[in-house]
Symmetry: C2
Subunit: 284 residues, 2 copies
């Protein structure tokens, strides 16, 4: 197993962090994994589940001997946590994350890194609408794509180590600039989440009690509306500009289809449906 780390501290042992720990163990990682978080109960559970070797609720204590620190917390908590740990980070350590927004994280976190400590941002495209340690799974990252987002002055060695790390847990890696990442995932991930929440609320406005009549199509389309509201609130805040841009395009597509239905322009409508179908066929 091609992992150049001996002591990995995972801050936030939930769905993402817990799955990462499970994957490391499953792949035969022989080093030490320390779980760090606010809830002692959760950390005890993680230890019992064999995810972590050790744990602490003292963030600085947890990371001070680590040569890799994985931030697996909601994007809204990353900066404050890094502020609380940066002074104790070991020289040569690498800090990485799993956040769904990258430009803001990179901008906030890189300046907080002490001399000789490197930050490399990452975003594994994996997740579930259920959250927390009980949803963690050793195969969450298997065959998933992980977007790694270096900037011009990112340390090349650190970047290589982070890419190998994600490959080691089964993911494939893609390099993307943080800004490009946020434009792309603002459209293909953040927009669909906002749309799913809006779809549920819109149907409830038609009539309060009818949602239960939905079939598989509606269930699939609104499953991501089960995602944690506070997490997606923060993602909207951190990627506000790109999400607004995507919302504008979606809203204009929706208005266009609505106008065609209003005008009973059925051949125009079919053409738009067909365009969408053809584009969608490239996705799977």
């Amino acid at each position: 197993m091609n992992i150049n780390f001996k002591h990995i501290a995972i801050i936030g042992v939930g769905l993402m962090g817990g799955s990462f720990a499970l994957a490391l163990k499953a792949k035969g990682f022989k080093g030490k994994i320390t779980g760090v978080g606010r809830s002692r109960k959760n950390l005890i559970k993680a230890k019992k589940l064999g995810m972590i070797d050790d744990y602490t609720t003292e963030y600085a204590d947890g990371v001070k001997d680590a040569d890799l620190v994985l931030l697996a917390v909601p994007v809204g908590r990353v900066e404050i946590i890094v502020k609380s740990i940066s002074r104790v980070l070991k020289k040569g350590a690498i800090v990485t994350d799993v956040g769904s927004v990258k430009a803001r994280i990179v901008k906030d976190v890189v300046p907080l890194m002490p001399e000789g400590v490197h930050f490399v941002g990452a975003h594994p495209i994996a997740g579930k609408e259920c959250s927390g340690i009980t949803c963690a799974a050793a195969d969450l990252y298997l065959n998933a794509r992980c977007i790694v987002t270096p900037v011009s002055d990112t340390d090349k060695k650190a970047l290589g180590k982070i890419m190998r790390l994600w490959k080691a847990v089964g993911a494939t890696t893609t390099l993307m600039g943080p800004e490009e990442h946020d434009l792309v995932f603002g459209a293909v991930s953040h927009l669909p989440h906002v749309a799913a929440y809006a779809l549920v609320n819109g149907i409830m406005k038609v009539e309060n009690s009818i949602l239960r009549h939905g079939g598989r199509g509606l269930r699939d389309m609104t499953r991501i509306a089960l995602s944690p509201p506070e997490l997606w609130r923060d993602i909207c805040s951190f990627n506000r500009k790109n999400i607004l841009k995507s919302l504008k395009k979606f809203s204009s597509s929706l208005t266009h289809l609505t106008r065609l239905i209003e005008k009973s322009d059925w051949s125009g409508l079919e053409k738009e449906f067909r365009k969408a179908k053809e584009a969608r066929q490239d996705l799977e």
Copy 2:
């Protein structure tokens, strides 16, 4: 097996009609099933697959001895087909359908029924984005709900037989008026389809090449955009009023979320996300 029919003619041996035939056979139906359609090639395939006992491309021939006629064609073709077969329908025969829109179908078809022939509308909530005979499956209707939509002068005996028929192939039945059906499914089925097509087109407008970056969330949300465009064009035409109503509510929910993001009202946004999440939890 509680089926009061001896000869069932299925017009349209595709996903819905083919699955119905397979389910009947799987449940031990001993009567005769005649497949009726435009494509001889498709009907030959259906016979080879053991779905049907006999077939014809002459609609009137196919239905004249049947005591049940199942219309399993796109809603846009129902009326013209019924016009071409109504004069030969056997006294005592029952005609039913599987269309996603009910009020217009009932309005078009009921007046075409000759003396002694009864129409009972139905809409099984089952389907796949893939269409055609190769997607048909004996378990498509297993545990599915089938909405049966009688009107005030629907023959009670015929209604009972249609309900037993759907139960026999594994579905549960719910009674609903055609107008109520179209309001409900305009919101929980037709709206999501239009929204899925619009979502793909909107993302393509952000940038042409980025759709492929989507993860499971986007794939699930846009799967129904793979549905046949001409089918959904007709559904939009047949349920125009209700779909426009639903689109208006959805659009207003989407605009509301957009405004909150524009105003950086994060607690307001979280509240809306939470409202949607809680409503969605009742769906599964």
